[in-house]
Point group: C2
Chain length 457, copies 2
């Protein structure tokens, strides 16, 4: 038997026990009443790293929860792999929808069920146990390793942006590896090759000092909602093309090679619509719904409010109306540049008698898009590793959402990123009965072991 398979098989039950212990920490980062539990969880991460034998382990306090950092730099001639994961979890509410208590890990039908099982403790453990496996079987590591395990991912990595900027030199590496994205399905292993970026704004239109009577003044005064509606209606054409000038300039066409890859993914718009209760997949002409979700920018109105929202009638002309709008960015769309183009356009389409106030909600948390170069060797190595771990060649997939800190680390360090996640879309992340299959846990450990063994800078 392959020594790696042998070691993993022999230690499987301990690996599960250690994951269970990790999952029993109530490391809910958003709720101050869990502060001590988050602290203890950071200590436990240090213990895990110590047991493996990392020569350098440090707990960095921040204004919020600590960053645990470790490195194993044993040979300057070997490439360096930087791993990013997080030990904090989402709140477990509503508790009564859990079959077993969220912080008392249970094993049911091959799944370990607990808050954080998939997001992200189970996947962090794939990396740590892979490193342990390599060290124990070979007496050394095939690469240098750096590990960031933070405690604020579920609250927007508030303090990690600054920490990364402050430790840029320390973090230098040849590749960033993250396991915090899903695979397509149990029988369709996949590798995520992109993330969308995000910009998010609140707009407030003001047209008068006070709400006005629609009878007395209707016809002679501006209506804040009408003005807001006119502005918003000009952001996208009816067929879904964003109207902000220059917005598509840094969006690249989907390469035939990538198109061929994603066309392998089984997908039916009819089933997709049925699942969501929608009656169409409207959007940019010329692109499939999958292409639009993963590789095209979007502009959505996320909220709107103004005037009278109660029961019945109030004959008011509102003087104020607000909306939240956001854009998902792709490829080389730079959040700052796109923000500027959007601001210019909003200014252009706002009538002179309308006051438009804009708040950039995400200004402090830049969320760049990320698209891997699928011809890069790190992608090939990752695909081979998944094939070895899961016994099946992976498909390449995109990811419509954003993991801002990943794009931030990747773009700031100027290194390729590999998004090699092992959870599934129906693993209930952020929901009751979150789970991670023990089978994928072990396959994940094997995959990471293979990747670390074969990665070349």
């Amino acid at each position: 038997m392959h020594p790696i398979l042998n070691y993993v098989n022999t230690n499987k039950s301990r690996f599960i026990t250690e994951l269970s212990e990790f999952l029993s920490y109530k490391s809910v980062s958003t709720d101050p009443s869990f502060k001590a539990e988050v602290d203890h969880c950071a200590d436990f991460v240090k213990t895990l790293l110590t047991q493996i034998g990392f020569p350098t382990i440090k707990r960095y306090p921040t204004a919020g929860h600590a960053v645990v950092y470790a490195e194993w730099m044993h040979n300057p001639s070997l490439p360096t792999v930087l791993f990013y994961g997080h030990y904090d979890v989402q709140p477990a509410d509503p508790y009564d929808l859990w079959t077993t208590p969220p912080f008392e890990p249970a094993i049911r039908e091959g799944q370990i069920v607990a808050r954080g099982a998939s997001d992200d403790k189970g996947q962090v453990m794939c990396h740590l146990k892979a490193i342990e496996t390599l060290v124990r079987t070979n007496g050394t590591l095939p690469v240098n390793v750096k590990v960031i395990i933070e405690g604020e991912e579920e609250i927007g990595s508030r303090n990690l942006y600054k920490w990364v900027m402050d430790h840029q030199e320390m973090l230098s590496a040849d590749v960033l590896v993250v396991s915090d994205t899903p695979m397509i399905a149990e029988d369709i292993p996949s590798l995520s090759i992109g993330l969308r970026g995000l910009i998010y704004f609140e707009l407030t239109v003001t047209t008068a000092n006070t709400d006005l009577h629609s009878g007395q003044h209707g016809g002679a005064v501006p209506n804040a909602i009408t003005e807001l509606v006119q502005i918003l209606s000009k952001l996208k054409s009816e067929d879904g093309i964003i109207q902000v000038p220059g917005i598509y300039e840094s969006v690249h066409p989907i390469s035939p090679q990538l198109k061929a890859e994603i066309d392998k993914i089984p997908h039916s718009d009819a089933l997709y619509q049925q699942e969501l209760g929608t009656k169409a997949c409207p959007g940019e002409p010329g692109f499939s719904s999958i292409e639009r979700r993963w590789f095209r920018p979007t502009l959505d109105i996320n909220g709107i409010w103004g005037g009278y929202m109660g029961v019945g009638a109030k004959t008011v002309i509102p003087c104020k109306a607000s909306a939240k709008i956001s854009m998902r960015l792709v490829h080389h769309q730079n959040p700052k540049e796109i923000t500027q183009k959007l601001m210019d356009y909003l200014k252009e389409i706002t009538p002179s008698y309308v006051d438009l106030d804009i708040t950039d909600i995400k200004a402090d948390f830049p969320s760049n898009p990320f698209l891997a170069d699928i011809t890069h060797p790190s992608i090939t190595t990752a695909c081979n590793a998944i094939e070895w771990g899961f016994g099946k060649k992976p498909v390449l997939q995109g990811e419509g959402g954003s993991v801002p800190i990943v794009s931030f680390i990747q773009s700031n360090l100027g290194i390729p990123a590999v998004l090699m996640g092992f959870n599934l879309p129906y693993d209930n992340i952020h929901a009751p009965n979150e789970q991670f299959s023990l089978d994928r846990y072990i396959k994940g450990i094997l995959t990471i072991s293979h990747f670390l063994t074969h990665f070349k800078a």
Copy 2:
């Protein structure tokens, strides 16, 4: 001295005392805790009518507050004047902004200050005291008189629509006279010759079963707010022309005679804007702001809501969004026909994948527009009466708001209406320190006396 002037002068202080007594009743119709006070106020109205000598006085109970009705039908060869007014008032909150308690009438600088002073007890008293004056000075009335004084005007005359339908024959008359609209200014007596009608709807757009993640699904699913915004943006052109086909068909051009009349009214758009804190008077090209407020239909969005309205960002694609929209109607625009045209248009502009649900909020309370024929003798008689009462020729004015029950009575009985109001825009109706000047009270009594004396069918 003219016998009418003589009688009014002699009895002036009693007229004021009686008005004070009327104003001391807390006849707040909307608040059930005032129910007994509203009842007592209806009794007091009966007492006032009895003192004058009305041969027929009846208190009609309704599902809400009573309607007080009286008639004095003494000579079938004389025309019949139907008066409509109301004895209920708006709530007096906030009490602490009143200089003197709202139901303890005080006289300050020639004004009687109390809730209901202008709206509508003071103006009801102009009619009752004019009738008393004519009876006492001539021993008889120059016309037959019918009087409706209701107790639910401030809550939409809920029960009066049915009552009017049930008593159509009893109410037959040659003219309807109402004093519940303002004059332009202290030194600009005016006669209102129009009211706008009103239709009001709530729209709800649904696009999916649940709110969706804007990253995962953005680009491939409909967004309820975006769809609602697109629909709303098509209701009016940017220069304020309503886009519903056929909506202007029954809107008549403003006659040169009427235009000449309203051009006499001193008005400055700059001052108007300054007062309201607006920066323009946007609206239908080719019409002055006054023309647009009084004699043109409008379409306003009165409220809008959907998606995330809290602090910060939520990356959601909302599945539901709602708005309230209303139209003010003019001239011959029939609420039912206009509603149908609007429904047809909304259906036409709503994409097939969008569910649009529409609630007709005012369906049970039809609000027709009203425009007097300014060449009708009742208008001339009213103008002459105001000139006699106020010592100055009145200007004709429109009214942008709606008094649905007035248009309803007028159109159901098929008689002309005279809107001869005596309060001023700054008399604080519906606000603290409501007032009515004693000078206008007396001038109102004189005006109504003159009108009743000279009215010919």
